[in-house]
């Protein structure tokens, strides 16, 4: 179960960020923002690899005592960041990967909406619903 899901634009401003309502939202904002450092680092390290071989999943960005922060970057440099509770050991890499893929698909749907202006905050209900399902899901 994800406790926070964020979509971050190429320019590093948040397109979408949502966290579980029980927790302090601000904390996750800081956490996701700080994780961009590692995302940037990983992207620039990846830059040398061929584009078509590039792995979109960035893996664990950094662990904290309570959370694990995972990253994913699309080819257009839009970043997905997911924060997962550390105690939730049931979530393995593969689950995280598939969650990211789901997120990516849903994001692609948002982008395909002709009424959506790229760069705007995501307000799609479908996307929101999908994120909600990710947040309650596994646990």
């Amino acid at each position: 179960m994800a406790v926070c899901v964020a979509v971050i634009a190429k320019e590093n401003y948040p397109l979408y960020i949502r966290s579980v309502p029980t927790e302090n939202e601000l904390k996750f904002h800081y956490m996701v923002h700080t994780s961009l450092d590692v995302v940037d680092e990983k992207i620039s390290a990846m830059g040398k690899a061929l584009v078509d071989q590039r792995e979109l999943y960035l893996g664990l960005l950094y662990p904290t005592e309570d959370y694990k922060v995972y990253g994913y970057v699309t080819n257009s440099k839009v970043k997905f960041v997911m924060v997962v509770d550390s105690s939730n050991t049931a979530l393995r890499d593969n689950e995280i990967r598939s969650m990211f893929r789901k997120l990516h698909n849903s994001y692609t749907d948002v982008m395909c909406n002709p009424f959506y202006t790229p760069g705007d905050r995501i307000q799609s209900r479908a996307f929101d619903g999908m994120v909600t399902s990710m947040m309650i899901q596994v646990c």
Binding site: E11, Y13, E25, L26, V38, E65, S87, T89
Partner: protein
């Protein structure tokens, strides 16, 4: 121990263990061979093939050779591997059968039995051969026999268990060969033993592991077993494999904890669930922490102990493997994991009780221990380039120290209280005593923590050291965000310590970072902290600005927003008493300009007109705010021709209703990305002026200046300097406005004063001394005030003005900004020749009012009231020119200068005159031609002699006194000249005729008559020329084709007169004569002149003198033919050189009278010549030498008496022949 081939072997503690090999038999022999053996054995690697599909490995073998003892052999069930003898070797150099049979065989049998008893099959018998011994004992059996015997006795089917080593201590090729074979055998057997025994061990271990669900299974026991395997791998320098063992243990344990947390409890785990009493951190300086290992073995270890031990082993192995960065990474995972596990256990079972802060201590110590361990085995450069791996630990340590500080009351201003101190003492107790291996290190983690917790000052020092180091590291590897985040913690610390001046820079830095990337919540949070900091610092301006931003921040609760809004308002009301000090803040946080609307909607007003501007301002404040004044400062520019520009601009930019909308900040977050205005692009085409073909095209970004400016200064949004108050003379004001939250409409009214373009620059709202300023209003908003100077146009009503008659002229006054007052008048100053006919009752009237300033045209209607357009009749006297200009100077009431207007009049008539003769009687004819479109009535025609000749009379022959002359027609007037005495050589006349427009009814004014003055010269008739054609003798009538005689008689009609006095006159004894030239020309080609057609005659100057000339002419046609012309010329000699020039002039003069034929040519010409045939020749000759000249007689002097007479010519009989031949 042979180190692996590494350039810099790490300074690590290694195990002294090597696989054990026992030696039995001849100990002396072995002792002699041992040095070579122990040296040679590890020299060459051997491939180790592994079971379970594990990759084969090259391995350097070493052994610990010990003397064989039965106690060494493991008993049944003993799992110890480290002490396990992998190979048993029996050494003998026996070469004597007797000896063999006597002692060696028994010994061997005994040895074998012991081995068998322990079911050990890994043995080897070495027979060392010595040439020296062989030579001494010649009677011995061949050496093979001993070996064969041994093989036969002991190695049934395993002949390879007995090897021969020849002359081991010699240096020969044979020895070498023998050694190699022996070593290979030895290694092979060792590996075989390893494979077999380790395989067996692993199998046993797995079996044990499978039993883990059974009750009574002990993780610690299993741990010891698997660690034994790890030790062996480490002993074999297979660190990778050793690490795998620990990792498996790690994973197994983690899984248990997880399962335990999930409710699947395993009894054995309760051993680890003891209360945590010691948190002295990781110990990484020893290869094996035997103390902790003992705890595990005795099943007394806590979770932290187990984890610590496990990690210390992993760390050691990783360092062997030259992977220090993995140590750092794993350390972080471990620490996080442990904290989680303890929480889990604490939460689930409430068994593990951890005193508050204990974990923080453990983590802090462990972090530093790991970092120091890594630093201990790496050089500076390596560490610097791998900060990314270690910085996490630094950051974690900082975090933990911070929380310890807060826990122990070391951060508060007052210092720790007694409760805090008790807690500190408890924590320090849990650390225990410092370990001996770090006791001498000054900077040991233990010492650091102890010191940090000892006092407020020490804590501050350590915390700042750590924080700064962490920030520096983050910054150096480009993790700016992380650095800012740590900086924010530091700022919080400073705020707690009441040093806001130190906190500010960190908060500002973080805020800038969040702003640049548009993270709304962190922005709000950081701003709140910054506001507090600025308040403490007394930075009023900054505080107010931050407060305004926070008051408008939708991420705050209503109460918070209100609080910040009240902060501003209360400041404003406090400072209201002391005016003068202004605080300028940017407006965007306070209120946003939504749209703007001009009335009139085109934003163009005339001078004096009223313009209103209505703006919609969206207040961002949560409560109504009363602004004393809202002002728009306006930039004024007098720009010529800007009116058109604006009009153009209007059509392009303004909507029909005149509303200008301002781009609202689309996102509620003031991010630099979102607040950028959209690109304004337009196409551009340039066509070549010559052929209109497209030669350039492109796209222009019209608001590039805005885009670029915003990007550069996007980060400095918070800087108060961004909003400078512009001092401008022109300000639109609106006083006492209460801005409700949300949209507010504010209307400004202004009376336009100076003409020009007014650009709205800044919007400014003042609340007490606080001024909220919108520094730039974009897009550009302008309004225009125009002023038109009063203008006067004068134009005729008709197409053109005619001289001499009254006509109407229209005066158009465009008043522009001038207001016409009652009694204003135009004063016209005119020349006398032009009269202005004013009518008393005729006043100007305003007939058109100012509707749209764009339409300048006004027409006039005569009326009775005050002016707008004035209308007057004008009349002017005529003159005798085709056109003439008259200037009128007009003094206008609005100007001190006179306006000079030029009016052009055309003459309606053209007049010509001519002199007519009849013998000696003379007539003057005047022709008046009407050129205008109008009809005129002519009356009172007069011709008077203006000369003084009194005896001259002019008798009019005109009958009617009034005549109508129609447009484009002519009227002739004739007078006869009569005189009694000698008339003057020239006559000056003036013709005058009254005229008035025929259509016009009676005019109130008398019009001046039209006059024409002219002069007539030499009008007296001197010569009469008479021509007569008589038919050939014998015939009645002239016939075509037959020669007729032409008689020309030239008669002098008067005596010598003044007119004769010229060069042609010759005087001889009172006898005057003049030379004349006659010429017969038939222009109509009716006649052919035969023979000389011209000649020069000398004419006596006396009345009645006659000269006759005969010549032959031939009529060419039949009928009444006019006679050929006879022309007379004065023939002037060429006597004087100086007159030649004059001659030429006069000749040219004559030329204009169409005498263009030279005399000389004509003198001999006897045939008919067309005119002008030799003209060019004559012209050129004339230039060369002086020639006689001709002068035509003035028309009055020669009278052609036979003009108009005709001769009847009858056609000849055979005229058809002639006609053909001539034409």
């Amino acid at each position: 121990m042979d180190a692996p081939e590494e350039p810099v072997p790490p300074v690590i503690y290694t195990m002294e263990n090597k696989p054990i090999v026992t030696c039995a038999g001849d100990q002396n022999l072995f002792t002699s061979i041992y040095p070579t053996l122990s040296q040679q054995l590890p020299r060459e690697p051997m491939e180790w093939r592994r079971s379970y599909g594990r990759a084969p490995k090259m391995i350097h073998l070493e052994s610990n050779f010990v003397q064989f003892k039965e106690e060494l052999l493991p008993k049944e069930g003993n799992k110890a591997l480290l002490t396990f003898p992998f190979l048993h070797i029996y050494w003998t150099e026996c070469c004597d059968t007797e000896v063999y049979k006597a002692t060696v065989k028994d010994d061997l049998t005994k040895w074998q039995n012991v081995l068998k008893a322990h079911s050990s099959v890994d043995w080897l018998i070495v027979v060392v051969e010595n040439d020296a011994k062989k030579r001494n004992k010649t009677n011995i059996l061949p050496r093979t026999s001993i070996v064969d015997k041994i093989r036969n006795d002991f190695c049934n089917k395993q002949s390879d268990r007995c090897v021969v080593l020849s002359d081991p201590l010699k240096d020969s090729s044979r020895t070498q060969e023998s050694w190699n074979a022996f070593l290979t055998k030895l290694r092979t057997l060792l590996l075989m033993s390893f494979t077999k025994n380790l395989g067996k061990f692993e199998d046993d271990m797995r079996t044990l592991r499978e039993k883990r669900t059974e009750p009574g299974w002990s993780f610690c026991d299993y741990f010891m077993v698997q660690e034994e395997l790890a030790f062996v791998f480490e002993m074999l320098q297979q660190f990778e494999d050793a690490l795998v063992q620990y990792d498996e243990l790690d994973a197994l344990f983690s899984q248990y904890v997880v399962n335990f947390g999930a409710g699947d409890g395993a009894n054995w785990l309760t051993f680890f669930c003891q209360p945590v009493k010691s948190w002295n951190g990781l110990i990484l300086r020893k290869p094996i922490d035997m103390e902790k290992r003992g705890l595990i073995q005795r099943q007394e270890a806590t979770l932290l102990d187990l984890r610590s031990y496990l990690f210390s082993r992993q760390c050691t192995l990783l360092l062997f493997l030259q992977r220090p960065w993995e140590v750092a990474q794993r350390a972080l995972e471990l620490l996080h994991g442990c904290v989680q596990e303890l929480k889990l256990l604490e939460f689930c079972r409430d068994w593990v009780s951890v005193p508050p802060g204990a974990l923080d201590c453990w983590v802090f110590l462990s972090c530093l221990e790991v970092l120091q361990r890594i630093e201990g085995c790496c050089d500076r450069a390596q560490i610097d380039s791998n900060i990314a791996h270690t910085v996490g630990l630094w950051s974690y340590a900082t975090e933990k120290l911070k929380s310890l500080g807060y826990l122990c009351g070391l951060v508060s201003e007052q210092g720790p209280n007694s409760e805090d101190l008790n807690r500190t003492v408890d924590l320090l107790a849990g650390l225990g005593a410092e370990r001996p291996e770090t006791a001498n290190t000054a900077q040991s983690p233990y010492k650091k923590l102890k010191e940090a917790l000892s006092s407020v000052e020490a804590f501050e020092k350590h915390y700042l050291d750590l924080s700064h180091a962490t920030i520096e590291m983050y910054t150096s590897i480009g993790r700016i965000r992380s650095a800012k985040f740590v900086g924010k913690d530091l700022a919080e610390f400073y705020m707690r310590k009441k040093s806001p001046q130190k906190a500010e820079i960190y908060l500002q830095g973080a805020l800038k970072n969040y702003l640049a990337e548009g993270w709304a919540l962190p922005i709000t949070h950081t701003r709140k902290q910054l506001a507090e900091c600025q308040k403490h610092l007394g930075q009023i301006e900054n505080y107010l600005q931050t407060s305004s931003l926070l008051a408008s921040d939708r991420h705050l609760t209503g109460n918070e927003r209100e609080y910040f809004c009240r902060e501003i308002l209360s400041f404003a009301s406090q400072q209201a008493d002391s005016p003068g000090h202004k605080i300028v803040l940017p407006m965007h946080s306070f209120a946003q300009l939504r749209d703007l609307h001009f009335t009139p909607s085109n934003a163009v007003v005339h001078v004096g007109g009223v313009l209103s501007v209505e703006i919609t301002v969206c207040s961002q404040m949560p409560v109504p705010v009363h602004a004393e004044q809202i002002a728009i400062s306006v930039h004024f520019s007098i720009e010529k021709n800007n009116y058109r520009k604006t009009a153009e601009w209007l059509t392009k930019h303004k909507t029909a209703n005149g509303i200008v909308s301002f781009p609202a900040e689309t996102s509620p977050f003031p991010t630099s990305q979102n607040s950028l205005p959209a690109l304004e692009l337009c196409e551009m085409f340039e066509r070549s002026p010559s052929d209109n073909s497209l030669h350039t095209t492109g796209i222009i970004c019209k608001n590039v200046h805005v885009l670029l400016r915003k990007q550069e200064s996007g980060a400095s949004l918070e800087a108060p300097s961004g909003a400078a108050l512009e001092a401008g003379a022109h300000v639109l004001k609106c006083n006492a406005v209460t801005l409700e939250p949300g949209p507010n409409a504010i209307t400004f009214r202004t009376q336009a004063k100076e003409p020009g373009t007014y650009t709205l620059r800044q919007l400014c709202a003042s609340v007490g001394p606080v001024w909220f300023v919108l520094p730039h209003i974009y897009p550009l908003v302008q309004y225009d005030v125009y002023s038109q100077e009063p203008q006067l146009h004068v134009e005729p009503l008709a197409d053109s003005l005619l001289a001499g008659i009254p006509q109407k002229v229209k005066f158009t006054v465009t008043t522009g900004h001038y207001t016409v007052k009652n009694g204003d008048s135009l004063q016209l100053s005119n020349v006398e020749a032009m009269l202005i006919l004013g009518h008393e009752e005729n006043r100007a009237v305003i007939y058109s009012n100012m509707r749209a300033p764009a339409t300048g045209g006004e027409s006039t209607v005569p009326g009775m009231t005050e002016p707008h357009g004035k209308h007057k009749d004008t009349q002017k006297g005529g003159h005798c020119m085709a056109t003439m200009d008259h200037k009128v100077s007009i003094d206008c009431p609005w100007s001190i200068y006179s306006t000079v207007i030029s009016l052009t009049f055309s003459m309606p008539f053209r007049t010509t005159h001519s002199l007519l003769s009849s013998g000696t009687r003379k007539y003057v004819q005047v022709c008046v031609q009407n050129l205008s479109e109008l009809d005129f009535q002519l009356s009172d025609s007069h011709l008077v002699d203006t000369g003084d000749s009194t005896d001259l009379r002019l008798i009019p022959l005109n009958t009617e006194s009034e005549q109508r002359i129609h447009s484009r027609q002519a009227v002739f007037f004739v007078w006869e000249l009569k005189w009694t005495q000698e008339p003057p050589p020239s006559l000056h006349c003036r013709f005058s005729v009254g005229f008035s427009p025929a259509s016009e009814e009676r005019l109130s004014v008398s019009l001046k008559p039209y006059t024409y003055e002219f002069q007539v010269d030499n009008f007296l008739t001197l010569y009469s020329v008479r021509a007569e054609i008589s038919p050939p003798p014998g015939t009645e009538l002239c016939k075509t084709g037959s020669l007729c005689s032409l008689e020309v008689s030239i008669t002098r009609l008067s005596d010598l007169s003044d007119a004769d006095k010229d060069e042609a006159l010759t005087e001889r004894e009172d006898y005057f004569s003049t030379k004349l030239m006659y010429e017969v020309v038939d222009n109509s080609s009716n006649w052919a002149v035969c023979g000389k057609s011209s000649g020069v005659i000398s004419m006596p100057v006396a009345a009645r003198a006659t000269h006759r000339v005969h010549m032959e002419v031939m009529p060419l046609f039949a009928g009444y033919l006019p006679l050929p012309d006879v022309r007379l010329f004065k023939y002037l000699p060429h006597h004087s050189a100086h007159s030649s020039q004059l001659d030429a002039d006069s000749w040219i003069e004559n030329d204009s009278l169409s005498v263009d034929k030279h005399v000389d040519d004509q003198l001999d010409s006897g045939s008919v010549q067309s005119r002008g045939s030799t003209r060019s020749v004559a012209g050129s000759e004339h230039k060369g030498l002086p020639m006689p000249r001709l002068r035509a007689l003035p028309p009055g002097q020669a009278f052609n008496a036979s003009a108009g007479t005709q001769v009847l010519v009858i056609p000849s009989q055979d005229d058809h022949v002639l006609e053909v031949s001539v034409t």
